[in-house]
């Protein structure tokens, strides 16, 4: 059986650390939990990790400094835990090359979904060179997707609102442009976000995305439906 991915959790609250470790282990992830950046560096040196969950509010060395150090060492995906609504931390974090962020207090299931999504994205690109930390804008067909701000700009530079799920979906499609993504894979991205009937969630989200991208649903040119259950973003994507 495949070895479960190894996750490092950096959080200064012992209870949260232990509970999060137990929770993630329950969902078939291997976890090493550390208290601060010093321990994190030590653990990093002694182990091999597929992902780091990093609380930005740490005693002593700030989480952002550790993220910067980590990025200089490796391409390991980073999911940040940020203070609720503190935009600056989040944006700096994402610009430093964090792959995603979850505001605290987080919903454990949503954190799990984000971890899985990031792992899948990272695992998917294991073969080739990984793109730069996922923080730089992606451009396709005149549209710009800015991971640092989780926003989409139209060709005139006007922000077009996306729901969290729509953004994740579009990012996944844009990062793997011209490759088919299965419904199951896309469903993972929406898990934990949706209260409604789940089977239609993908179709609904895709049709909304097409509307927003002004992509005619019946004759979609940008997000194409692949027979057999998948979608593909048919466009050249540039990493700006």
């Amino acid at each position: 059986m495949e070895q479960p991915p190894h996750i490092m959790v950096v959080d200064d609250d012992r209870e949260i650390r232990d509970l999060l470790a137990r929770f993630l282990e329950k969902h078939r992830l291997r976890v090493t939990a550390v208290r601060d950046c010093r321990d994190a560096r030590r653990a990093w040196a002694n182990g091999h990790y597929q992902l780091v969950v990093l609380d930005l509010m740490l005693p002593g060395e700030p989480g952002l400094d550790f993220a910067r150090w980590l990025r200089s060492q490796s391409d390991v995906p980073i999911v940040m835990l940020t203070a609720m609504g503190e935009e600056t931390d989040r944006i700096i974090g994402l610009e430093l090359g964090a792959d995603d962020y979850v505001p605290k207090p987080f919903n454990p299931r949503e954190l799990l979904a984000r971890i899985r999504a990031v792992l899948r994205r990272a695992g998917d690109s294991m073969g080739g060179p990984r793109h730069d930390g996922g923080s730089r804008p992606l451009r396709f067909a005149g549209w710009t997707l800015e991971p640092a701000r989780r926003r989409l700009l139209n060709p005139d530079g006007v922000e077009v609102a996306l729901t969290g799920g729509e953004y994740d979906l579009l990012l996944a499609l844009a990062e793997r442009a011209n490759r088919v993504l299965t419904r199951d894979m896309l469903l993972d991205l929406l898990r934990g976000r949706q209260a409604g009937p789940f089977d239609r969630a993908i179709d609904v989200a895709i049709s909304r995305l097409r509307r927003k991208l002004e992509d005619d649903g019946r004759n979609a040119q940008l997000i194409k439906t692949v027979r057999g259950g998948g979608y593909v973003l048919a466009a050249t994507v540039e990493h700006a």
Binding site: D13, E15, I16, L19, L20, R22, F23, K26, A83, M84, G85, E87, T88, K104, P105, F106, N107, P108, R109, R151, N154, D156, G157, V158, E159, V160, A161, L162, T163, G165, E166, R193, Q194, A195, G196, P197, R208, K212
Partner: protein
């Protein structure tokens, strides 16, 4: 008023003066005539009288009887006035009272003075009286008009100067009500005004500190609650009973909503986020989609009406929070939300406003509550809140944000039932 009274005083004074000078003048002439006739022998009197020049407006005749004319006897007040004048200029004593008869008066523009000569003959003098003309001098009117205009101008200027600080103060109080961080008043001008401005600024500073303290307290509590809420959420994941776990998670969700509302309220709506262009129409549709995803049973009653695209410049996340609150309110209390985006009538005109109307089909809001619901921590009727939760910050946050954008939010009841929130934003 003062000018009118002054004018009246002047006119009356002038009338009096004119009458007095006229009476003096006539009295001199009448007494002169009398003296001349008195000194003449009775036989020659008629000739002398004929040769004497009476001057304009005066005629005299000799008669055996007191004067009879078609004029009534002079009213007592006038009599006194004329007698005093005649006596003053030297009418001999016997005529002071009984030997003199006076007829007419200013009302008839003529007086007749009958004077008995020592030998019993009467000298009757008839004199025309010119009516008093208070506006005789043309320069007077011009001067008066000029004075009136200048006085009015000066008064107006002085009043405006005196009331300007009061108006500034009123405007400052109004601004403080809207925004506790409004700039302070300039503490200059007359001493009283400067003192009032300083007192106002001190008061504003105290209010600001009070609000800040409260906000900081709330923010601190909100921050401190995050760790325990996170722990509880994690713990809840280990509850085996699915139903219980769901309930605990729902409670925690509610708790978190309250905490994040408190934190959002504590944050200044102005700072932090940069202004950028965003598609308002798409934002509203996305918010409705999100509301529908969260409450699938209401999804069919969420509608958008308006242009497919409309670009505004705003702080995207902050604006999104305000509109989310308004839509969530409609869904929570009305079970539906009809969002209408109304572009301004004339694009680009100064003060043009974009209007966002959010209607629901709920029970509406009691008229007395329409403004009070915007007060922080105000909850409508208690029964309504017990089941729906909420902290009473959604609307205050929305209003803070819209006002920080230069717009506003107001609530109203629709004639057809239900409530309507109207948010405005400079176009």
């Amino acid at each position: 008023m003062v000018q009118a009274a002054g004018l009246a005083i002047h006119a009356m004074d002038r009338i009096d003066l004119q009458r007095l000078s006229q009476a003096r003048n006539l009295a001199f002439r009448i007494v002169g005539l009398y003296r001349a006739v008195e000194l003449t022998a009775p036989a020659a009197r008629a000739d002398v009288l004929g040769e004497l020049r009476h001057g304009p407006g005066l005629s005299a005749e000799l008669s055996a009887a007191p004067p009879v004319a078609n004029l009534p006897e002079m009213p007592p007040r006038e009599q006194r006035f004329w007698r005093i004048n005649l006596n003053l200029v030297g009418m001999p004593p016997p005529h002071h009272w009984r030997g003199m008869q006076l007829l007419g008066g200013p009302a008839w523009h003529r007086i007749i003075v009958g004077m008995r000569l020592p030998d019993g003959e009467w000298l009757n003098v008839s004199a025309a009286i010119e009516p008093a003309r208070p506006w005789h001098s043309p320069t007077f009117l011009a001067a008066f008009l000029l004075m009136t205009v200048v006085a009015a101008g000066l008064t107006l200027w002085a009043v405006r100067r005196l009331t300007a600080p009061v108006r500034t103060l009123a405007a400052a109080a109004e601004a403080l009500g809207r925004d506790v961080n409004a700039p302070p008043l300039p503490e200059d001008g007359p001493l009283e005004v400067a003192t009032a401005a300083a007192a106002f600024n001190t008061m504003a500073a105290r209010i600001r500190r009070f609000v800040q303290d409260r906000t900081e307290l709330l923010t601190a509590i909100g921050h401190d609650l995050r760790t325990p809420i996170t722990r509880l959420k994690l713990r809840a994941e280990f509850i085996e009973d699915d139903e219980q776990r769901g309930k605990v998670l729902a409670d925690l969700e509610e708790l978190e909503t309250m905490v994040s509302a408190t934190l959002a309220f504590g944050r200044d709506a102005r700072t932090g986020e940069a202004v950028s262009a965003l598609d308002m129409a798409e934002l509203l549709r996305t918010l409705l989609d999100e509301a529908g995803d969260a409450r699938p049973e209401a999804a069919s009653r969420l509608e958008y009406e308006g242009p497919a695209h409309w670009t505004v410049r705003a702080r995207p996340l902050t604006l999104k929070r305000a509109l989310t609150n308004l839509i969530a309110n409609a869904v929570m209390y009305g079970g539906s939300a009809r969002v209408r985006l109304v572009p301004p009538a004339s694009v680009g005109a100064a003060g043009a406003m974009l209007t966002i109307e959010i209607e629901d089909d709920g029970p509406g809001i009691p008229p007395g509550e329409l403004e009070r619901v915007f007060e922080p921590f105000h909850r409508g009727e208690p029964s309504r809140n017990r089941e729906t939760g909420g902290v009473g910050l959604g609307l205050p946050i929305a209003r803070n944000i819209m006002r920080a954008h230069g717009g506003d939010v107001v609530l109203a009841n629709r004639p057809a039932g239900g409530a309507k929130a109207t948010a405005t934003l400079p176009a």
